[in-house]
């Protein structure tokens, strides 16, 4: 058995989700190589990644075609690597992993398991289905197992080993059926939502975009990230990349504070793995109360400034 983890990086650093995928790979138990794909900054990322525990070798694929990790360009690279004898391919279940891995699966004529939350054995895994209302245990019948990993379910591999080898493998293939046009990336000083220790989320109850400053004030006091319910995002109170839920970010922080969020099952699917959940809501009967450790029934616009002050 050999495992390949596909790394994702941002601002020259491995993402927290990649470190969780490495932990999942360690639990599978096979020798693990880490594939770093990217543009000009990829070699620096590879050097840093070479210090990550449980990683046997770094494979570095650097080239202009890889800069935006378009699925059409990255898939041929991974498919070719699997032919060299990998039995498992893992990637964080984020927008890149979800975009790329199904193409790899189809190219290899194998299935794929999405959002794995537990490694039962080398071929059997657990994953949530139906908005987390059921946990399926699934055995892969394929010779190569392709898995996206739900980062919040695994700890993060740390950087403390001696530097492993970095092997340069490919400079890139450029597909003709797709072209990158532009991107608009949200810049935030706050910790990344998916891996933050504290998340403060606002919902429809925040009433407008301006009131989200109250959420931000509490988040900043706690050194936490800001999240939002679908209702808040749909209403334009917060950008789409802050959505927590079945179809947004899945979070499992030490502390999750849900403010003015009723708690639709789709939202609960994204945060019910949090260690401690606080709900602040004017409605004592809101469904969020069913998962909250502490429920404060109060007017949000009084409670939030008071909370910010008390912290």
């Amino acid at each position: 058995m050999r495992t390949l983890v596909i790394a994702e990086h941002a601002a020259g650093q491995l993402t927290a989700g990649t470190r969780s995928a490495i932990t999942a790979a360690m639990e599978i138990g096979a020798e693990t190589d880490l594939l770093v794909v990217g543009g000009a900054d990829a070699s620096a990322v590879a050097e840093q990644a070479a210090l990550t525990q449980w990683v046997h070798r770094i494979l570095l694929a650097q080239g202009a075609a890889f800069e935006k990790t378009l699925a059409e360009n990255v898939q041929p690279l991974i498919t070719a690597l699997v032919a060299e004898g990998y039995t498992h391919v893992l990637v964080d279940a984020n927008s890149m992993g979800r975009n790329v891995l199904p193409r790899v699966a189809a190219s290899l004529d194998v299935g794929m398991l999405s959002d794995v939350i537990k490694v039962v054995s080398a071929d059997t895994f657990q994953r949530p289905i139906y908005a987390g209302n059921a946990i399926a245990t699934v055995q892969s019948l394929d010779p190569v197992k392709l898995l996206t990993i739900r980062a919040s379910a695994f700890g993060q591999a740390s950087s403390h080993q001696e530097r492993c080898d970095v092997v340069v493998i490919d400079s890139g293939y450029s597909a003709t059926n797709v072209r990158f046009v532009s991107e608009h990336l949200t810049v935030s000083e706050r910790p990344e939502l998916s891996s933050a220790r504290v998340v403060v989320s606002g919902g429809r109850g925040m009433q407008n975009k301006g009131n989200f400053a109250l959420i931000e004030g509490v988040a900043d006091k706690l050194g936490g990230a800001v999240g939002a319910s679908r209702a808040a995002v749909d209403s334009g109170f917060a950008p789409n990349d802050l959505q927590v839920g079945q179809t947004g970010k899945i979070v499992a922080p030490d502390l999750y504070i849900a403010v003015g969020i009723s708690g639709a099952i789709q939202h609960l699917a994204g945060m019910s793995g949090s260690k401690v959940i606080v709900a602040i809501n004017h409605d004592a009967e809101a469904p969020i109360a069913q998962v909250a450790d502490y429920m404060l029934v109060a007017d949000l616009f009084e409670a939030l400034p008071a909370l910010e002050k008390a912290l």
């Binding site: 199904p102 059921a134 046009v181 991107e183 429920m295 008390a310």
Partner: protein, 249 residues
């Protein structure tokens, strides 16, 4: 231009599923089913493309058992022109579904293939991307805006830290995210009209796709239950609990 929309019959999003007592699977007996919400967004987008004069025909296709005809009729009532059901009673594994759809695409030759980004039942988020690979086309997942210009589909995608725009040559695969549009409701006259629109049923076996099982469902369990929480009376009591009982701040 022809737009093909792949849709799935799934549990109604407002229903909370239960796990069977024997832990073999979830219990869908007597449960309300619906058009998967993301597929509904895909259907809506196809209809809007037709209304804008970009598309000339909207064909909806589903893979599943005969009950999925109900969801195809829903799509026809929303405004699709005709429907195809690839009928099978097998477990719907994404790669197998993708192979059936690829066969349909071979014969239908659409210029755009729309999917929901995922189904809310199995939450795989795979089928669209697999189809794109099988037919050798470019893809845009998690779409929040779709336009057509200079012989290309230009798609804005929601990604982890913001948004990205890609241009795809024809034919292209696009999977639809929540904020692409807000689906309309079918009017009663359109529901009546939909009953007369063409719905063709094709036996999956006749498509000549090489399918097999890639996974075995070992069992299904309910998620761990959180212990019942408490009500706190004030902000200061909350802060005290978080500091001194939970130790998280």
């Amino acid at each position: 231009m022809k737009v093909l929309v792949a849709v799935k019959r799934a549990i109604d999003p407002n229903v909370k599923v239960r796990v069977k007592a024997d832990g073999s699977d979830v219990d869908l007996n007597g449960v309300k089913m619906a058009l998967n919400p993301f597929c509904e967004i895909a259907v809506e987008e196809a209809i809007r493309l037709k209304e804008r004069g970009v598309a000339s025909e909207v064909v909806v296709v589903s893979v599943g058992n005969s009950a999925a005809q109900e969801q195809l009729r829903t799509a026809l009532a929303l405004g699709a022109d005709r429907a195809l059901l690839v009928e099978t009673n097998a477990v719907l594994e994404p790669l197998n579904v993708a192979k059936y759809l690829s066969k349909v695409i071979d014969s239908e030759k659409p210029q755009l293939i729309l999917f929901g980004k995922q189904a809310i039942d199995q939450e795989n988020n795979q089928t669209g991307q697999m189809v794109a690979q099988l037919i050798g086309s470019g893809q845009a997942t998690f779409a929040s805006a779709i336009s057509y210009a200079d012989d290309q589909w230009v798609v804005e995608r929601e990604v982890d830290c913001g948004s990205q725009i890609v241009a795809l040559s024809v034919p292209a695969v696009v999977t639809c995210d929540l904020r692409l549009n807000e689906p309309r409701y079918a009017s009663l006259p359109n529901i009546m009209k939909a009953k007369k629109k063409p719905l063709e049923v094709i036996a999956a076996d006749e498509l000549g796709a090489s399918v097999k099982n890639h996974a075995r469902l070992v069992g299904v369990a309910p998620p761990p239950v959180r212990k019942v929480g408490i009500k706190v009376g004030s902000v200061s009591e909350l802060v005290d609990k978080l500091k001194n009982v939970s130790g998280v701040i």
